[in-house]
Symmetry: C2
Subunit: 140 residues, 2 copies
DNA sequence: CTACGATCTAGAGCGAGGTCTAGATCAAGC
DNA sequence: GCTTGATCTAGACCTCGCTCTAGATCGTAG
């Protein structure tokens, strides 16, 4: 059984993968890309040990990625946090700009949804009455 | 001035690019990939002439893509339409499945949005009171 | 001690979705 | 006829965001 530890303050990469939903590959990749705030601690043997701070950060990263933030922006954000206090205004700007993009995205998706729902309705009705034409047919 | 025609039933690739938001490159690419329902008509000189049917289809494609439908599914849909009547049930299934995915996507985005909005709030408050700690700072 | 699985590094590879280039051709205006 | 700009084809190339491989090492269970 692998140390599926309790509150021991530090997790191995596999455990972090499990709780963030990222693959171990992705975790190493994120680290290489400078997406983490600090360098990850290592055991004497060289294995990564993630703190709960790291995990918290990664969970936010996941949400930001999931909502379409590019890795480059994530990296920028990480850099800001890494350089400590004094740049909160910029962090705020970055996040808020992203929030606005997410809002726009939701709105766009809602429009798509309604277009699709409408087409779904058209087909459903067509099928309900068993063929009636008026649908998309390449030959008019 | 290029024939920014009125109702003449057929548009050149540039005009179609303008009204669909796709690039001319993308239009040719979509065609090659079999994403259009029928073969595009050509002038005697070999230039593409899109019908209003083509444009309508492309506009739907744009919406579907915008909402994350992969090109492969789009191609499948195009094939169904291309093969004419008789498969409406499958078209319906395809669209409806996508609609469900869009719904899920919207829901996910809304959750992201609220996480982000919360963080934005934290930073805003922090800035309003001019430094108070409690924010993300790599060194505890 | 031996196994065996989890992790390590460096770097190659991949799939999606286009974008861009080169070199030729077409079409419209002067 | 000549120039200019849009379009043509085939195919190379690009970015993004991982994923996978190879070959070595760690660490725990038996």
């Amino acid at each position: 059984m692998t140390t599926t530890g309790d509150a021991t303050q530090s997790l191995g990469i596999g455990e972090v993968a499990e709780r963030t939903g990222l693959s171990v590959h992705a975790l190493r990749f994120y680290e290489r890309e400078g997406l983490l705030v600090g360098p990850v601690r290592r055991t004497s043997g060289g294995r990564r040990r993630y703190t709960s701070f790291d995990v918290e950060w990664l969970l936010v990263c996941v949400k930001l990625r999931e909502s379409g933030m590019p890795l480059a922006d994530l990296k920028h954000f990480a850099e800001l946090v890494r350089h400590g206090p004094g740049n909160e205004a910029e962090r705020l700007r970055l996040l808020d700009a992203h929030r606005q993009r997410v809002d726009a995205q939701i709105e766009a998706l809602e429009e798509c949804r309604s277009v699709i729902a409408w087409k779904v309705g058209v087909y459903a009705e067509h099928l309900a009455r068993g063929e009636a034409g008026g649908l998309w047919d390449p030959r008019p």
